[in-house]
Symmetry: C2
Subunit: 315 residues, 2 copies
Amino acid sequence: MKIKDIGGEFALINRLKNQNKGLIKGIGDDCAIVNINGKKFVVTTDTLVEGDHFSFNWFTPEQVGMKAIEINVSDIGAMGGKPLFCLISLVLPKDIEVEVIDNIYKGMQKSAAKYNLNVIGGNMTHGQQLVIDVDMFGTVEEGDLCQRKDAKPGDFIFVTGDLGASTAGLKLYQAGKKPVGYVKRKHIEPKAQFHKVKPFLKYINAMIDVSDGLASDVTRICEQADCGAIIYADNVPIRDETRLAAKRLCNNPVDYALFGGEDFELIFTVSEKNLKNVKGYLVGEITKKKGVRIFKSGKETPLKTHGYDHFLSKS
Amino acid sequence: MKIKDIGGEFALINRLKNQNKGLIKGIGDDCAIVNINGKKFVVTTDTLVEGDHFSFNWFTPEQVGMKAIEINVSDIGAMGGKPLFCLISLVLPKDIEVEVIDNIYKGMQKSAAKYNLNVIGGNMTHGQQLVIDVDMFGTVEEGDLCQRKDAKPGDFIFVTGDLGASTAGLKLYQAGKKPVGYVKRKHIEPKAQFHKVKPFLKYINAMIDVSDGLASDVTRICEQADCGAIIYADNVPIRDETRLAAKRLCNNPVDYALFGGEDFELIFTVSEKNLKNVKGYLVGEITKKKGVRIFKSGKETPLKTHGYDHFLSKS
């Protein structure tokens, strides 16, 4: 049986979760949570595969290194945590230029320095395709921990910034039309956005970073919190640059925001009583009724799809 | 410049180490060491790439899963540590059978249970080639920590068990001659050997697990401890099954032990005054004089090569 036959990677993850209940403790959040000597820590791992997560046609090696660090810092941040150290595993094709590896490390160093993050070790081996795996470990203060399961019916859903720009950049690249400016930068140099929520972490119930689009990532919160959500599609922040790019490609920019990915803005939920303490764009609410429903011009439009699934795509 | 032009993966690691002195703290041991709340922990990552580190022609998926866990437990053990939790990152080719993934996890579960190890999370993505990356975190008691740098001239070098059997198994597979019994098992189902040194950890100065052959791994100790070593080649424990396999292939079994890899036995060094407290096979001594020298039938034979280097090999 192939992965597409069981419904793609989301189905696969659920299957493994169910089969390994005793084994896997942490699935369901951006990071696993571990207790060490009475203190909580968050741990995550994320992998970049050449051709799937980046292309050297568009990215410089330094930008690839930066991205590898930023996306893991984003996962730590989405739990309310602060990155502490990481390990780097590289699978290197035999004919890769040493300068490429040097520059990947240079990019990692640049991003790590921003966060006072230590790269403490790693591993290197040979393979057909460049694979960069980063494992990151962070601290989290008890009151700051944000888990997906803690979203509550009645919570309002916020996002920290505009969505869809990274997808706009990617689509332009894929169409052979060179993106410039904002949409290019958002795709090529994504940045963790944790600083935007840090001042009011204790008022946040659930949080997740936008890796697969607002609709997909809100769905993930709902799965863990055993609830549903309404998304106000007209209220999703989308920059003019993103709208323009979508127009060039005859696409709907709202689809980029809902189902595109890798914006790395943070989605968080807040109880009504705490609205006065937070800052962000209101994009929806958590409901008791299951399922994620999207409202556009006052009308409900059905949620068609999850985010991009490598195992379901034709290419 | 290609990796082979600078001298292979050992040269690459040194290059990165020198360029990233401020960045990378932990390179040089089987694990990085981190201090958390005044206690020491050990962290490691190891990657298995299909075709390079295992072949489904020889391994069952369950055995691949077991190997992925055992080799990381071996790294934790080589520091004197005890595994605590791990994360699993999988890069999956699109057409992989779901049952293969299920069985890889089953093998992981089997090995993890032996060590009371928690798999707390992970990541899954798509790529051309199956890549399994395990990141493991362990505890280590202050007096138990064994670092390569702590070998001292005059120390005796021990190994916990026979060497070369895994290479014998591999070479038979590669030659299309099906291995059986001991050499097959040592290649297909490697096991961490930490239990053998646990009773006398506090008497060990330096330790490393045999991943690239006795000569290569003793060289690594010497590099970190700024010393040299003599290896008594005639005293290296090699099983009859390994000798027989080497004979079938017209190879020298001592070469398997010195330059083959993946035995996962432990090499450790001990001061003379502590000899009475340890158990193992005496295979050499640490010297002030730099370089690793091999003695066979009382004569010095020059050390020709490091262990297997993917980036220098022709295939």
